[in-house]
Amino acid sequence: NAGVTQTPKFRILKIGQSMTLQCTQDMNHNYMYWYRQDPGMGLKLIYYSVGAGITDKGEVPNGYNVSRSTTEDFPLRLELAAPSQTSVYFCASEVPRGNTIYFGEGSWLTVV
C-alpha cells in the first residue's frame, strides 16, 4: 500500500516555464488536496477535489490549475512559473468523515 505518492520530489524551473506535479493515491479516497508550504510557514490550501470531475479553489489558487479525471490522480499544473511559486507542495487525501488525512512526502519546487 503506497498511500499518497508525489512526483517529482525535486524540481528547478526557470521563470515562465510550466510543469505538472503528479499526485496518486491507491486508497480509493474521494477527497484530495493540494497545499503549498512557503519557508517557515504553515501549509496553505491551493485546490481540492471531492471526487472525479469535481474541483474547487482553496485559499491560494492563482497561478495553478488542477484536474481530476480519475479517483486516483490529482495533478497540479503550474503555468508560467514565477519565483513566488518557490515552495514545497503537498498532496493529501482522505475518506469523507474518515478523520484521517494522508499526506504525500512533498515536492520541492524552486523557480529561478
Binding site: Y31, M32, Y33, Y35, Q37, G40, M41, G42, L43, K44, L45, Y48, V50, G58, E59, V88, F90, A92, S93, E94, P96, R97, G98, N99, T100, I101, F103, E105, G106
Partner: protein, 116 residues
C-alpha cells in the same frame, strides 16, 4: 474566514521534561476539528493528535495531550517526557467545516528543540 495562530515561533525543552505549545483559533463554525501535526526536517506531515469540538474531553495519545478550551478558542499541546525524536516543527490546524477534514487552516508553526 478561519484563522489559526501560534504565538511561539520557537520553544526548547530538556529531555524528559514537559513542554506546552500554544494555539488559538477563530471560527464561526459550531462543529469543527482541531489537529496538531509534527513536521520533522524530512518535511513529512505526521498527525500527532486530533480533537473534535463537540467532545468536551481532552484528547490524549500516549505522551501527547491537549488542553481544549472551546469558549476561549484555545487548543494547546502538552508533550510529556520529551524525547530527542520530538524535535520538529509543530503545526496547529483547524478544519474549515463541512464533511471534509482535509480543508485545513494551519498556524505558522512552532519549532520545538529537545535538548539532551
Amino acid at each position: 474566514a478561519q484563522t489559526v495562530t501560534q504565538s511561539q515561533p520557537e520553544m526548547s525543552v530538556q529531555e524528559a521534561e514537559t513542554v506546552t505549545l500554544s494555539c488559538t483559533y477563530d471560527t464561526s463554525e459550531n462543529n469543527y476539528y482541531l489537529f496538531w501535526y509534527k513536521q520533522p526536517p524530512s518535511r513529512q506531515m505526521i498527525l500527532v493528535i486530533r480533537q473534535e469540538a463537540y467532545k468536551q474531553q481532552n484528547a490524549t495519545e500516549n505522551r501527547f495531550s491537549v488542553n481544549f478550551q472551546k469558549a476561549a478558542k484555545s487548543f494547546s499541546l502538552k508533550i510529556s517526557d520529551s524525547q530527542l525524536g520530538d524535535t520538529a516543527m509543530y503545526f496547529c490546524a483547524a478544519n474549515v467545516g463541512g464533511t471534509s477534514y482535509g480543508k485545513l487552516t494551519f498556524g505558522q508553526g512552532t519549532i520545538l528543540t529537545v535538548h539532551p
